[in-house]
């Protein structure tokens, strides 16, 4: 069995008195594609944000490639190169060109020189199919292009795992496909991915494991064919019927 890339054991988190994550157990193997879905407010984004320490967790254990991630900054600076992140709102740096967005991390955090970083950036821009936009500002691109730049920015750090937090939710419908296409290509190339999304067509195509969350807990998880055809819980059935009826 492949070594686990990410492991969560009994993770709990509270916002004041609100229990956002309840005893989360989740394992992501190397090369595995995990899709997390569920109604809004179910805690699915929080899971992803706790894994890469954008938010602290309160109890339980999170391990990234065997290394425990605590809330001590030193523990996660080591794993940061291992995890790439794509946000719902892209979060590109608006004052920098596309190329500069891509080279900032590699030059400042990885110590690449400018030439190496630019070569790498152009390679990944090619991979997300916008090689000709390198010198533009993010604001000059469409939403779909911006999100693909954000994916390229994450790839430039050459992470072992890519985390996606609702990558298509902020996009106009006609731009969703171009982003999903890029993500499918990444999946086919063997990237380990954890994707929070409502795009069930994408999930069916790439997911090795489906996770359904509701009310801060993982209600159900399993391979997609079971998940979509014979969901065990009522809540999951209801959710799927709501999301798939269109």
């Amino acid at each position: 069995m492949a070594a686990s890339a990410i492991e969560l054991r009994g993770v709990n988190k509270w916002y004041d008195t609100f229990h956002v994550l309840k005893d989360i157990d989740l394992t992501v193997a190397s090369g595995e594609k995990v899709v997390i879905c569920g109604p809004s407010g179910s805690g699915k984004s929080t899971v992803v944000r706790c894994i890469n320490k954008l938010e602290p967790h309160d109890t339980g254990i999170i391990r990234v490639f065997g290394q425990e991630i605590t809330n001590d900054p030193r523990s996660y600076s080591a794993m940061q190169g291992d995890l790439g992140m794509v946000f719902q709102q892209f979060n590109l740096f608006p004052h920098l060109s596309v190329l500069e967005n891509l080279t900032l991390g590699p030059t400042k955090a990885l110590g690449l020189n400018r030439k190496e970083a630019e070569e790498r950036a152009r390679r990944y821009l090619e991979r997300v199919r916008i090689p000709d936009q390198a010198d533009k500002r993010p604001s000059q691109l469409s939403g779909g292009q911006q999100q693909r730049v954000a994916i390229a920015r994450a790839l430039c750090m050459e992470p072992k795992v890519l985390l996606f937090d609702e990558p298509t939710s902020a996009l106009d419908p006609e731009m969703i496909a171009e982003v999903l296409d890029v993500m499918i290509t990444l999946a086919q190339d063997g990237m380990t991915m954890v994707v929070v999304t409502h795009e069930m067509g994408f999930a069916r195509k790439v997911a090795d494991k489906m996770v359904f969350m509701d009310g801060g807990e993982i209600v159900e998880q399993g391979p997609p064919d079971h998940f979509f055809t014979t969901p065990k819980s009522e809540r999951c059935k209801t959710f799927l019927s709501q999301i798939l009826q269109h």
Binding site: N52, L54, Q80, G81, L83, G84, M85, F87, Q89, N91, L92, F93, P94, H95, L104, G105, K108, A109, L110, R137, P138, S139, Q140, R153, A154, C156, M157
Partner: protein, 254 residues
């Protein structure tokens, strides 16, 4: 109604009476006469020190303000308290007493610690202005940095940038354009407040005016010229800031 208009007329009469001995005497600053020209040159000679004090104080305040603002943005409560105490305390002290404290008080404190640190009027004025202004600068930075979306910091973190790198390459370059106009306001404030340096003997614009008033007895005319001198300085600053904003405007998002 009739009584109030009578009172108004009466007070006007009193005012006019007060002014009866004070007619205009623009001759003191008449550039066409040798004496007037000498006076003007004397008044303007304070310009250099006013500019120098203000610029140095502003530079110190811009650096100090950032150093004070950063703990105010910390997640840790202790750091935020340090920021609050500094800002509330410094902001509350009027400039004149603070000037006395720096100029006369600090050397005494240093001496009691066995240190001999003389503070001359030049540095006394600069320290006071920079200190007083830094509390306001800090608040400007805090607001400017907080106005940059949280996602920017998170994105920087996910591409491995440290806190200092995030500030330098991501947050501050975006915040600076929002920070610049209020910072320019503060610089104008410094220029005008530098007039207080006259009371500890700094030979700047206001001190020159005061000295000339003592010998010429024409305060109204001399202070009018003083107002013009500050006006010119302030207009120059405004023009400079507008130029800077235009230059920065080119690399802001459209």
């Amino acid at each position: 109604m009739r009584i109030s208009s009578f009172l108004a007329l009466a007070s006007l009469a009193v005012l006019a009476g007060c002014g009866s001995s004070a007619t205009w005497g623009w001759y003191v600053i008449d550039p066409t006469t040798a004496a007037g020209w000498t006076n003007i040159k004397f008044l303007i000679s304070g310009m250099g020190d006013t500019i120098l004090i203000s610029v140095i104080a502003a530079v110190i305040s811009i650096v100090l303000g950032l150093l004070v603002a950063l703990p105010g943005l910390s997640e840790k409560r202790g750091w935020r308290i340090v920021n609050r105490v500094y800002v509330e305390l410094i902001r509350a002290i009027p400039l004149l007493p603070m000037l006395f404290w720096v100029f006369y008080g600090l050397p005494i404190i240093f001496r009691s610690m066995g240190l001999n640190v003389p503070i001359d009027p030049f540095w006394g004025a600069i320290i006071t202005l920079a200190l007083s202004d830094s509390a306001f600068t800090a608040e400007i930075y805090r607001a400017g940095i907080q106005s940059i979306a949280k996602g920017q910091r998170e994105a920087a973190q996910t591409v491995g940038l440290s806190y200092a790198q995030t500030m330098r390459y991501v947050i501050l370059p975006q915040a600076i354009r929002r920070i610049l106009p209020p910072l320019a306001n503060q610089f104008i404030y410094i220029v005008k407040m530098s007039a207080f340096a006259s009371v500890i003997g700094m030979q700047e614009l206001t001190r020159r005016a005061n000295e000339l008033v003592v010998t010429e007895y024409r305060p109204l005319e001399i202070y009018t010229l003083l107002i013009l001198e500050y006006l010119i300085l302030v207009l120059l600053i405004s023009a400079g800031v507008r130029w800077l904003e235009r230059r920065m405007g080119s690399d802001e998002r459209s």
